[in-house]
């Protein structure tokens, strides 16, 4: 700091950066080598790393660093030549030297010069050949020093580039992309020649490729993040007298460098926690019938635009009851609040500030900063922390973070005539303000939104920003965004309209704008107009609203709980306008998503209409492909195996399916009619629809119960009843049909004695024509009571099959 940049400083900085990486890598490699001393490749790798430090330090005239690395290199070389056995003394000695090198580098980074001091202690410790320790065989023939050259060549295949330079390249490419977009628009408008457009397309493709390479340049393998972990686990396990096997996987996954910096501390904290609190003491593991050696594994994998880092241990897991008891004891929650907590909320208690799960605070991880900090740090960079608890068998913590720090998924909303972005991760639900699941009350000057029995303080974005609502906005477009800014907090944010989701590159805003507390940064969408990213937490403070969920609508809590439960169980209906302008509905649960595709994506093949979406082709429920240009909306129905697209004009709303569905008589596209808000709505039968387009499951794959109709004299059974039964999954035969198979159940359609003789072993259900039963003992079923009939069938067939 404060020193002017000279060539020497640059060299020193390069050296320090490189050495920090080498030390982290070497620490991990030594622990791995210690686990398998016969692993010649590890030994060679460590040797080369130490050799590199020695080489660069000599050049920079750092005598202490040179002496230390020389001692380590010498000892390792002795092992390579078979003159020395790799034993505990050697491993600890080399680790001791690495630690000292790390300390020296820290001072070097601060002062720019090597501090005076004596390293004879650590060098002497390495020189001691601990004869009493068990000796280990080294396999393989010692290699000659020439082989080192290969390793060094490897490390020279990459170069160090300062981050600001990378950033400026990135900015440059983004500018090119924006200019390309503008140029493309001008080309289209000017009606340029096809040859001009073709060569522009070529240019455009190479720009896209370049943009991708540049964003990859900031990426680093997550190996680097994992490198110091084996050492930490080794040291801590020794200190605590625990035996731990540590594994990492997915080290090849790449992550933005800056992102990596931000998850390093949370990751280390979680691993330390796992060793300290998760893994039981040796005797407890034996008592629990577990392997004495515990396993902790850290793995990374990429999933879309996100990286998942999983830290799994096979320790004792979390005990929800113990967590609650602890939370009550530390007054984080009251006893009555605790009773209201679900399992997940109980586990989430560990994210409460100041919460420590260990029975007593230990030197290792119980230092008052805990999982709340981990969570806060991960959330700060747009990530989330998830717990997967298996009580008694282990705990898995999942960190899910965006691949790059600066790109987040954002929801674009409009208010007061301009656009704002909300981080998608904080959005729990989006509802139309005019929808029938939402009720808004004015209470003493404030506003309250009740959504399915849950109350939220209501913030109007215009009011938070101190603006007037824009008159040109349609009141019907107003939407509520249920925001969860943090643990145990939520509120409803009312906005003029929802625009769309976008991947946004976020940059910090000027300090005076950040100081308002309303914004978390700025972003520049493709249209080139800056957009402000809202600070969902800061807006709460600005509005001075208590968004804590605890104790909200206290006396109504039980009622709300029941109502919410009912809402969860209730079937949700997606209302839409069909292509023939009719209002129809379909169970929301069968809809995978609503897709908007260009009309050209639909085509006819072998008499069926298909849609191309991305790289997939799906069947479409339509007779002919739509004519003309433009786009159309498709409902994607998914039954767990296949997808069917259903073209619609527009989505209207999502409502709770009312009771009193009038079923249609024959199975078909329309399952029935129901009144929604006083208007009849046709319900689509997804079962029938999927059946029409099913690829055809082989016959007999599913045994359908056989149902025989007895005494079907007037054909009522054949004409009225059989379709219902078939629809419900039964095979139906009448008495007239040849009987090769014993039916599972017999339906007797008359009340006469005609079918007294049938039955025997087969259960019989008798139907009656009168609505009222003859008496309490009457087991007959009214023949138009569809539900009772189906229930009776299920009872009989199910009962017999046990």
């Amino acid at each position: 700091m404060g020193r002017t940049g000279t060539a020497m400083d640059d060299l020193l900085n390069d050296f320090l950066a490189e050495t920090a990486e080498i030390l982290a890598e070497a620490g991990g490699a030594i622990v791995a080598w210690e686990a398998d001393p016969a692993d010649r490749a590890q030994l060679d790798a460590i040797f080369r790393l130490v050799h590199t430090i020695k080489g660069s330090s000599g050049f920079l005239a750092l005598p202490r660093v040179t002496a230390l690395s020389h001692a380590a290199e010498d000892a390792l070389d002795q092992v390579r030549r078979g003159n020395r056995q790799p034993n505990a003394a050697l491993f600890s000695g080399v680790l001791g030297i690495l630690d000292r090198l790390g300390d020296l580098c820290t001072v070097l980074g601060k002062d720019g010069a090597e501090p005076p001091g004596d390293d004879r202690d650590v060098i002497a410790a390495l020189a001691v050949r601990d004869a009493s320790a068990e000796t280990l065989e080294v396999a393989g023939v010692p290699l000659r020093r020439d082989d080192d050259l290969n390793g060094e060549l490897q490390s020279w295949r990459s170069i160090r580039v300062p981050l600001p330079l990378l950033d400026s390249v990135m900015t440059g490419v983004t500018d090119i992309v924006l200019a390309r977009n503008e140029f493309a628009r001008m080309l289209r408008e000017s009606g340029a020649e096809p040859s001009v457009i073709a060569s522009f397309e070529r240019l455009s493709d190479s720009i896209a490729g370049m943009r991708q390479s540049v964003s990859q340049m900031r990426m680093q393998r997550i190996d680097k993040l994992f490198a110091p972990l084996p050492r930490i686990v080794r040291d801590l396990a020794q200190e605590m007298g625990k035996k731990i096997a540590f594994q990492t996987s997915g080290g090849e996954v790449e992550l933005d460098r800056e992102m990596m910096e931000n998850i390093r501390d949370p990751l280390i904290h979680i691993v330390r926690n796992a060793i300290d609190h998760g893994v039981e003491a040796l005797e407890d593991r034996v008592a629990a019938g577990k392997d004495i050696t515990a396993t902790i594994s850290v793995s990374a994998r990429q999933s879309g635009n996100q990286i998942e880092i999983e830290i799994r241990d096979d320790g004792r897991g979390l005990s929800p009851d113990a967590l609650v008891a602890k939370a009550i004891a530390s007054r984080a929650v009251t006893a009555s609040e605790a009773r209201m907590l679900g399992l997940r909320e109980k586990l989430d208690l560990i994210f409460r500030p100041g919460f420590s799960t260990a029975a007593k605070v230990t030197a290792v991880s119980g230092r008052g900063v805990g999982m709340d900090i981990v969570k806060a740090n991960v959330e700060k960079i747009g990530g989330i922390v998830e717990l997967r608890n298996d009580e008694g068998r282990g705990l898995t913590i999942l960190l899910r973070v965006p691949m790059t720090l600066t790109i987040i998924s954002g929801l674009m909303v409009r208010a007061a005539g301009q656009y704002f972005a909300i981080p998608r991760g904080a959005v729990r639900e989006i509802l139309l303000e005019s929808g029938d699941t939402v009720r808004i009350d004015r209470v003493g000057g404030g506003e309250l939104a009740t959504v399915r029995g849950e109350q939220y303080p209501l913030l109007r974005l215009e009011a938070v920003l101190g603006r007037e609502a824009d008159d040109s906005d349609d009141v019907d477009d107003r939407a509520l965004v249920i925001v969860r800014p943090g643990q145990g907090q939520s509120y409803a944010l009312s906005v003029a309209a929802i625009h769309d989701h976008e991947e946004l590159v976020i940059k910090p805003a000027a300090p005076m704008i950040m100081a308002t507390g309303l914004y978390a940064g700025t972003t520049l969408p493709d249209n080139g107009r800056p957009v402000l990213l809202l600070d969902v937490q800061g807006m709460l403070a600005a509005a001075a609203i208590d968004a804590s969920e605890a104790g909200r609508s206290h006396d109504r809590m039980a009622e709300a709980e029941a109502e919410a439960m009912a809402a969860r169980n209730a079937v949700q209906l997606l209302l839409f306008r069909d292509t023939n302008r009719r209002v129809r509905g379909v169970h929301l649960s069968v809809i995978e998503r609503v897709e908007e595709v260009p009309a050209a994506a639909l085509f006819e093949s072998a008499g069926r209409v298909k849609a191309q979406i991305g790289a997939d082709i799906f069947p479409v429920h339509a007779v002919t492909p739509p004519a003309g240009e433009g786009t159309l909306k498709l409902l994607r129905l998914y039954d767990g195996q296949s997808v069917l697209c259903y073209p619609i004009a527009e989505v209207i709303d999502i409502v709770r399916l009312p009771e009193g569905v009038q079923p249609s008589l024959a199975p078909g596209l329309i399952a029935g009619v129901v009144l929604v808000g006083g208007d009849p709505v046709e319900l689509i039968d997804p079962y029938w629809l999927m059946e029409q387009y099913a690829a055809g499951v082989p016959a007999g794959a599913l045994r359908q119960p056989l149902c025989r109709l007895a005494d079907d004299d007037d054909g009522w059974g054949h004409n009225f009843l059989a379709p219902i039964l078939r629809g419900a999954g039964y095979r139906v035969v009448s008495a007239a049909d040849a009987e090769d198979e014993t039916p599972d159940v017999i339906l007797c359609l008359t009340e006469g004695d005609a079918c007294r003789q049938v039955g025997g072993e087969v259960p019989v259900i008798r139907l009656r024509t009168s609505v009222a039963a003859a008496g309490p003992e009457d087991e007959t079923v009214y023949r138009y009571d569809r539900q009772a009939l189906l229930d009776a069938l299920r009872r009989q067939v199910g009962g017999e099959r046990g």
């Binding site: 101190g466 940059k507 000027a510 309303l518 914004y519 700025t522 972003t523 402000l532």
Partner: protein, 145 residues
């Protein structure tokens, strides 16, 4: 030589000589995006070459009422503490070397100008206030703190 280079412009109804060291460029802006809730001297945001800049209205810093931004208006782009800002300028006159020395301000200025102006300088037979453009950006923040 850079110390002698000034941008002569009319800012907040006053001809001033801006020290050029922090000045990045002079560009024109379209309609800026408003920042609700921001301090009054923030006139909005605009994008330039994929960077987002904060537009500052010097009128407000000086204590005058804010002026609306007209599309095509020229602004002076400056970098302060790694953030990009732009000062609304009424008129850009010239970029020139002024050999005359900066002299201490004599006489009484309006309180707003007294806070931002650093010195005076003789240029083509007139006395100009010498202003470091970053003062327009950092000073109002200090006052608010």
């Amino acid at each position: 030589m850079m110390e002698k280079l000034y941008l002569v412009a009319r800012i907040a109804d006053t001809r001033v000589a801006l020290r050029s060291r922090a000045i990045n460029s002079v560009v024109t802006v379209g309609t800026p995006v408003e920042v609700p809730g921001a301090p009054p001297h923030v006139a909005g945001l605009f994008a330039l070459r994929s960077r987002v800049f904060t537009l500052i209205d010097p009128h407000v810093v000086i204590g005058l009422p804010a002026v609306p931004v007209t599309p095509g208006q020229r602004v002076i782009v400056v970098d302060v503490a790694e953030h990009g800002y732009a000062l609304l300028a009424d008129e850009i006159e010239d970029v020139c070397f002024i050999e005359a020395p900066e002299t201490r301000i004599t006489g009484k200025l309006l309180p707003g100008w007294a806070r931002v102006a650093a010195a005076t300088i003789e240029h083509q037979g007139a006395s100009l206030l010498v202003v470091d453009p970053s003062n327009f950006i950092t000073l109002p923040t200090l006052k608010a703190a």
